[in-house]
């Protein structure tokens, strides 16, 4: 039953104030992500009960407590897989995954790669700070960004770029944002949710406590909007853009790639209520065994 925008906003406002004391460090980039998500769901006029927020484990994962809406919090690295199942089972839910770079690219890389392939209609906000914040600042797989002198070894390998991995593995929407510009991030999230497929939004969200390299200032000096001339529907153009920015030592912000894929598969909530299930008759299954 669709609600009016007004009711929506009323419900949202009513519940949006965090009941939970925020325990991010002052200045943490995650505050901006929180604001961006709030702005996005408000402008999408989504009620808390239509939402399923799936969070990773990390400082980033705390975001689930600061947002109203159904949420699921499972194991470190698992968020995308829970989200996949939830969306497959109930396509009517808006499923938003919010997880850190450690969660998504280290322990959860398997789910990331396969989610890109499967292309479920969910939106991932990758809260990328280059460290494992919650466990006190160890290197994450994106550590090394902005450190050209990084001397790689088996113990300290070079970083991976989620944008490139997503492009390679088949994600159909890839955007990049920065906590210094939460309005833009909010727009990206809106676009990501509207996109019918897997939307990866890599959001640089500085860890002010443990990442002394990728600071707000560093990002401000390195981000650069995707040029208006860019055609995000072309994969070749997306690769071109990524390579061009990389060569220039810059980080594109905006929509890098967007090309919905035509997919099979059900679009309806799976049967679960007694009246929906009652119809089941297994007799044909038994007869086949004769």
């Amino acid at each position: 039953m669709p609600e009016t925008a007004q009711t929506t906003r009323a419900i949202w406002d009513q519940n949006a104030a965090p009941r939970h004391r925020i325990q991010w460090c002052p200045g943490c980039g995650d505050y901006a992500v929180l604001n961006a998500v709030k702005a996005a769901v408000t402008s999408l006029e989504l009620t808390p009960s239509e939402l399923l927020l799936v969070a990773g484990i990390g400082c980033s994962g705390q975001i689930r407590n600061y947002l109203n809406g159904n949420s699921f919090y499972g194991t470190h690295g698992g968020a995308l897989a829970y989200a996949l199942g939830a969306k497959m089972a109930n396509p009517e839910l808006t499923v938003l995954v919010m997880a850190g770079d450690g969660d998504t690219l280290a322990i959860g890389i398997e789910n990331f790669v396969h989610a890109c392939r499967r292309d479920p209609d969910i939106t991932l906000v990758l809260m990328n700070n280059g460290v494992y914040g919650l466990t006190k600042g160890q290197d994450s797989p994106s550590a090394g960004l902005g450190q050209p002198d990084w001397k790689p070894s088996e113990e300290h390998p070079p970083f991976i770029d989620p944008v490139e991995v997503a492009l390679t593995c088949g994600a159909t929407f890839i955007g990049q944002g920065f906590s210094g510009d939460p309005k833009h991030a909010a727009q990206l999230i809106v676009e990501g949710v509207r996109h019918r497929g897997f939307a990866v939004i890599n959001d640089f969200s500085p860890c002010v406590t443990y990442n002394k390299v990728n600071t707000y200032d560093w990002f401000r000096a390195h981000v650069e909007p995707v040029p208006a001339s860019h055609d995000p529907s072309s994969k070749a153009a997306a690769w071109e853009l990524v390579r061009d920015f990389r060569d220039r030592g810059k980080l594109p912000t905006g929509i890098v790639y967007r090309a919905a894929r035509e997919k099979g598969g059900a679009a309806k909530r799976l049967p679960m209520w007694p009246d929906e299930l009652a119809r089941a008759d297994v007799d044909p299954l038994v007869k086949r065994l004769r």
Partner: protein
């Protein structure tokens, strides 16, 4: 003349010779003919091609009590050439490995295309040998190698004096190949006829009209099907209401995935072949969060990888049915051999303490009937429910009356709250209740949001480390198990009179062997009782202890090394146990149980280990 009571064994080279094809064809046709067939000792290799594979089928006119012992009445060797491991010897694995098990007067039928086999020893023991060049005929005369199996089938049926009018075979072939045209049906029937003729001729030569074994069709009250445990439990799940299934291929659980992929979408469900074990169970949890009844299936190695998610299911209180089709571990172990080695893992695996329920069907029909309970309990108690089968049960096949499948009825009653249910009181996902069960709205419903959390949480679902709330939530979750013990735990099945002799204790797939052993012991003058468990965890102490604490020896029989269930019995009932343990990958035989019980009762053994180099190893003290 032995009529309608025998054990056939069909062997051959895996993949190449079509052992399962022939065995399933025979099992199906005999089932249609009103007989009962049981095939749970199926043996195949964990390589695709080239190893020896065999499939023993027990046939009976009455519902089957047991798979019996190793002894075989009729041996069918489908392989036609020599064993690459022993090329100098032109005999074959079926004969080499199982010839010794042939009973006096038993029958050997084999494909002699590669040359005859020296079966003198076998014949000396009274074996009747029928060598027919099936593959040669198929290739040369019928120009199609695969029909060699129909030649062998026809020959077998003639030996058993069965289906001489081709009625059963023709019907099945028409159903199976009808769409491909009559020619192919005819070719197959022609092949069967050749086999029949060949046997006919040999019998005539020997002037023996019969080999002494006969199958006669029986008029049966209700139609029956020939079904595997994996199929039976899948049907049970579909019927109970499962609409999301996820798995990652693994023996012996792959069959569930394949069955569900084929059939669940027809019921509006979806099936995910995960990219790995974790994606599977996590997706199933995600689906369950949305209210859909969800299930995963796997075997030991996969279950070990899913362990962290057991805790997620338990703590977030997200229902999930987890089928563990056990195979021989540890680690990669023996992927195509049976075992009951995962009990400790399913009752205790996972860090911290997780509310969970463990059920284990003991027969293939129970794979169907008990599954409904598993689904219902997962929904009612919002926790993981394990459904423990083993390779024998999962891949094995049995004749089951169709009426069994009509016993279930409609899907289970759901335990999901509606907006109305939660109106009034503020909706709290983890409300502290007396039963331990909290009301559960699902995302998408109005009436409140659910903060579903694997961290310790308050009633709303927000993270907390408040000591008192922690204890309250922990107690609430575990209280569900007490509610379960009161309302849903089932007592073990008891056969015979307790207290007159030793008590044989079992769980899961060993039941038929224990019942058979009990009969044999009785015939030998020992009054044993059998206490067989299907509801394993939480351990039903209040139901079990009175049965086991009789002062008589408690002999726990299991397919594992240490006696995992015996440990549970001791921990919870404080009753000393004796153990009969078999972990060589093969099925427990009634004769072994009988012998072990004698060791226990007469020689004071505390543990009897079966199936090693010496068939029985006896331990008289448990201390090292």
């Amino acid at each position: 003349m032995t009529v309608n009571q025998m054990k056939l064994l069909i062997g051959g080279v895996q993949l190449r010779d079509g052992v399962s094809t022939v065995a399933d064809l025979v099992g199906r046709i005999l089932t249609r003919a009103g007989l009962h067939v049981l095939s749970v000792e199926r043996s195949f290799a964990s390589t695709i091609y080239g190893a020896h594979q065999f499939d023993p089928l027990v046939v009976s006119a009455a519902p089957l009590l047991s798979w019996g012992d190793r002894a075989v009445d009729v041996l069918v060797g489908l392989e036609y050439d020599s064993n690459p491991d022993a090329p100098q010897q032109p005999n074959r694995d079926t004969i080499r490995q199982h010839g010794g098990d042939l009973v006096e007067g038993g029958v050997l039928l084999y494909d002699s295309s590669g040359g005859p086999v020296n079966t003198e020893a076998l014949q000396a023991r009274g074996g009747q040998v029928f060598a027919i060049p099936a593959r040669d005929i198929a290739l040369r005369e019928l120009k199609k190698e695969v029909v060699k199996n129909l030649i062998m089938t026809g020959a077998l049926f003639r030996l058993l004096e069965f289906d001489q009018d081709e009625r059963w075979l023709r019907q099945l072939l028409e159903e199976r190949f009808g769409r491909k045209g009559a020619a192919i049906v005819d070719l197959n029937l022609e092949a069967a006829r050749r086999g029949r003729t060949l046997v006919e001729r040999i019998l005539e030569d020997r002037r023996r009209p019969s080999v002494g074994y006969r199958i006669e069709a029986v008029r049966s009250a209700s139609p029956a099907v020939y079904v595997s445990g994996n199929e039976a439990l899948s049907i049970g799940a579909v019927e109970a209401g499962v609409r999301f299934y996820a798995g990652y291929p693994i023996t012996p659980a792959s069959g569930i995935l394949e069955y569900m992929e084929r059939h669940l979408p027809g019921y509006g469900g979806r099936v995910l072949q995960g990219a790995n074990e974790r994606e599977s169970i996590r997706a199933a949890l995600g689906a369950s969060v949305t209210g859909v009844l969800s299930m995963v299936g796997t075997s030991g190695p996969g279950l070990s990888l899913k362990v962290e998610e057991i805790g997620v299911s338990g703590t977030t209180e997200t229902p999930l049915v987890i089928v563990d089709a056990m195979r021989a571990g540890p680690s990669t172990g023996m992927p195509t051999k049976t075992e009951q080695g995962d009990l400790t893992l399913v009752t205790g695996g996972g860090h911290g303490e997780i509310p969970r329920i463990v059920l284990a069907p003991s027969t293939i029909d129970e794979c169907y009937t008990l599954m409904r309970d598993a689904v219902r309990l997962s929904d009612k108690y919002q926790c993981p429910v394990f459904f423990l089968t083993d390779l024998n049960l999962s891949e094995g096949r049995m004749t089951v009356a169709e009426s069994v499948f009509r016993s279930g009825g409609a899907s289970i009653a759901r335990h999901v709250a509606t907006e109305e249910d939660v109106r009034g009181a503020r909706y709290l996902r983890y409300r502290l209740t007396d039963s331990g069960i909290s009301p559960r709205l699902i995302p998408g419903q109005r009436g409140g949001v659910s903060k579903i959390s694997s961290t310790e949480h308050d009633e709303f679902g927000f993270v907390t480390t408040d000591p008192a709330m922690r204890v309250a939530q922990m107690d609430k979750r575990m209280r569900k198990l007490h509610t379960y013990l009161r309302e849903d735990a089932k007592a073990p099945q008891v056969y015979g009179h307790l207290g007159r002799g030793p008590t044989l204790v079992g769980w899961g797939g060993t039941k038929l062997a224990l019942l058979d052993a009990r009969e044999r012991l009785r015939r030998e003058g020992t009054e044993a009782a059998v206490v067989h468990f299907t509801h394993l965890w939480p351990f039903p102490t209040h139901l079990a202890k009175p049965l086991l604490d009789t002062g008589r020896p408690v002999v726990v029989c299991e397919h594992n090394y240490s006696g995992q269930f015996a440990d549970l019995v001791q921990a919870h009932c404080l009753v000393p146990t004796r153990r009969v343990l078999k972990y060589n990958g093969r099925t427990l035989y009634p004769s072994e149980v009988v012998r072990a019980v004698q060791e226990v009762t007469h020689n004071g053994a505390v543990a009897v280990r079966l199936g090693g180099k010496d068939p029985v190893m006896v331990e008289v003290s448990i201390d090292a």
